[in-house]
């Protein structure tokens, strides 16, 4: 593993074609009266049909904003997409009209959120809410939509779906509500499912149920999934590839096994070392010192440099490129190889 070839590549040099969804060099900022927050600073990633990509990051890393940009549900203002492309099957969503984007939303790319209670309308029965989508988007008749809604609720393993179709959101438990939301997202057979912290609000036993369900559905329906989360444990269980975000950039990108075996960015390494583990009785936890940056004043050079144990003068002066490591991974660190070799020990 020491024979890694390191070569700087511009961020947009990802291979052409083939990707179901590809984000290229996206820049998003939030303009508030306090100043301009640079929330996304040149994010590129891609998703192939049928795979699960995990986007990992802490609050403020830009992981959810990227997803909202893909869905076209960013509030503008304050958000402002400065540049970049979001290619779905080769077409740039950002240049499309609102009408065209509406066709993509739900039908091609669907999204589920962390808070299922606020994502469901409290005054309508859940069955009605699922059927509503089918009727307006697919032109189904009332009876057909109802039948399909029951099928969908069965699909997400809501017990006694036929009986519960008339129930209101508050009559469901947290886990069941999340299932309802998944059923709604699946209603139009999307090819991509974006799950934004789908289990964060749930208890651990329910969390396991939902992650199982998502993994099964992805496999059975042949969808591609983007899983947005801060939980390294959840990622390890389901993802094929991981993109780690920090301060609006992707700092490391790798397949899930090599990333956990030997992280090649000091931030990823720090995160993995700082979480308490169930299977290891720890001594003192390693920490990442300091705080995530204020997005209105992102540090010069590498945004992680004030917190980094590997920091050198070059990190303060120069923004690191994505270094391509031999095994198809990238790491936006001047010392990527060193970090990876350290981690592998």
């Amino acid at each position: 593993m020491t024979d890694a070839v390191i070569q700087p590549t511009p961020a947009s040099a990802t291979p052409e074609g083939g990707h179901l969804l590809e984000i290229r060099d996206l820049h998003v900022e939030f303009r508030t009266h306090e100043g301009v927050a640079k929330v996304i600073n040149g994010v590129s990633y891609h998703l192939n049909a049928g795979e699960t990509l995990a986007v990992l990051g802490e609050s403020g890393s830009g992981k959810s904003v990227t997803a909202q940009a893909i869905m076209g549900i960013l509030d503008t203002p304050p958000a402002h997409i400065r540049s970049g492309q979001i290619l779905y099957q080769g077409r740039d969503l950002l240049t499309q009209s609102e009408e065209q984007r509406r066709q993509v939303r739900g039908k091609e790319i669907a999204m589920i959120f962390q808070d299922a209670l606020s994502a469901l309308n409290p005054v309508f029965p859940v069955g009605w809410q699922i059927a509503e989508t089918l009727r307006t988007r697919e032109g189904m008749s009332r009876a057909d939509a109802r039948r399909r809604a029951i099928e969908l609720m069965d699909l997400v393993k809501i017990p006694a779906a036929e009986r519960r179709i008339g129930d209101y959101p508050h009559q469901f438990s947290g886990g069941m509500r999340q299932r309802v939301m998944i059923a709604m997202a699946l209603a139009l057979n999307p090819k991509v499912l974006i799950a934004d912290e789908p289990t964060t609000a749930l208890d651990v036993t329910v969390q396991a149920q939902i992650m199982d369900l998502l993994a099964d559905l992805r496999r059975d329906l042949g969808m591609a999934m983007i899983l947005i989360t801060h939980d390294l444990g959840v990622v390890a269980g389901v993802a094929d590839r991981i993109a780690v975000m920090y301060a609006g950039r992707i700092v490391e990108h790798a397949d899930v096994r090599s990333l956990y075996r030997a992280p090649a960015h000091p931030y990823t390494k720090g995160l993995l070392e700082s979480i308490p583990r169930l299977d290891v009785r720890g001594q003192e936890l390693a920490t990442i010192k300091g705080l995530p940056p204020n997005l209105m004043r992102i540090p010069s050079g590498c945004p992680f440099h004030p917190r980094c144990p590997y920091v050198q003068q070059v990190c303060v002066d120069e923004v690191p490129h994505d270094l391509v490591l031999g095994d198809g991974r990238t790491s936006a660190c001047h010392f990527a190889q060193e970090v990876r070799d350290d981690s592998a020990r």
Binding site: F30, T32, H33, E34, A37, V39, S59, G60, T287, K289, G290, L291, P292, P293, N294, L295, M296, R297, P299, S300, H305, P306, R307, C308, P309, V311, Q313, C315, V316
Partner: protein, 317 residues
């Protein structure tokens, strides 16, 4: 906004117990002045033209009440029937009224009574509302049940009708007694909305974790109410009272217009509007001038209250 909160990030300090001393971290903290919630609200208000316009109006009106002589040289009580409905002349920029008094001068001098009634009623209202709202919201249970029903009952009384009934019984025409009576009647009938606002913000504040924290430290009811709940319930109360001040001024004008408000001795907009109305066909200015003063003053207070409420509303930040 929590995603990119303005963090006073002092890396060195936060990691005191970890490895310290990293290169290239500017201490951002030293340059930042402490800011309070009120400070944030003030920064919002500063940019709001409505705030400035309404504040300017309120200040002008207040100055008019304190020193009317600055605005007009004419004596409002210097009335001569020979000048009945005469046009503008000699400082009387809006001419003279039916009694031959300077219309503008009367409106300027009338400010004092109106503002005094409004301010005094608002202060008394505030005291009643804060006390009742605080006790009802903080203690809950039967205290709340009794006080809330009291609020409902008072709220059910039509303000003007009750004011007419009560003020009719004040026999004397002494200026101070009548002014006091108007203030008391308005305050006694007008505190309910503010009390409800206080009660609900007290209930919200009471549920906060920092109140539980104070209780766990052993803080008594008095300290919790005054130190932790009152400051967080005060802002909405002040807003409601500012708006109420405007409506008290309007109510006083209505009562004086009906002839049961302030004493005949006192110059007030309400009475002038009444006089102006009777003789509207002969000349409209004696009606329009005090009406405009009244409308602008009431509007100024309501706009000011609205602007402050928007600035303090945490949902908008």
């Amino acid at each position: 906004m929590s995603d990119f909160e303005t963090v006073a990030a002092s890396e060195n300090q936060a990691a005191r117990r970890g490895p310290s001393g990293e290169p290239g971290t500017p201490n951002q903290v030293a340059t930042q002045k402490p800011r309070s919630l009120a400070g944030d609200a003030w920064r919002d208000l500063r940019r709001n033209p409505i705030f400035w316009v309404s504040l300017a109006l309120v200040l002008i009106v207040a100055l008019m009440a304190v020193a009317p002589g600055l605005f007009t040289a004419n004596d409002p009580k210097d009335c001569m029937l020979s000048r009945q409905n005469a046009g503008p002349s000699g400082g009387a920029i809006f001419g003279y009224g039916f009694q031959g008094c300077d219309t503008f001068s009367r409106a300027v001098y009338g400010t004092q009574a109106s503002l005094l009634v409004g301010a005094l009623s608002a202060v008394i209202t505030g005291v009643i509302a804060l006390t009742v709202g605080m006790l009802a919201g903080y203690f809950g249970g039967w205290v709340d049940a009794v006080l809330s029903r009291a609020i409902d009952i008072v709220l059910g009384i039509p303000l003007l009708l009750a004011a007419i009934v009560l003020l009719k019984r004040v026999g004397t025409d002494s200026a101070n007694v009548r002014l006091g009576a108007v203030v008391l009647v308005l305050a006694i009938l007008g505190w309910t909305t503010a009390a409800r606002v206080v009660r609900s913000s007290v209930i919200t504040a009471k549920e906060q974790d920092y109140v539980a924290a104070a209780r766990m430290l052993g803080a008594g009811h008095g300290r919790i109410m005054l130190r932790h709940i009152l400051p967080n319930a005060l802002a909405p109360a002040i807003v409601v009272l500012t708006i109420a001040l405007g409506s008290f001024i309007a109510a006083e004008a209505t009562l004086s217009f009906l002839g049961i408000g302030l004493s005949q001795e006192t110059i007030s907009w309400g009475q002038d509007i009444d006089t102006g109305r009777i003789h509207m066909r002969e000349s409209a200015t004696p009606l329009l001038v005090p009406s405009t003063f009244l409308a602008l003053t009431v509007l100024a207070f309501i706009m000011l209250g609205d602007a402050i409420r928007d600035a303090f509303d945490p949902k908008l930040r």
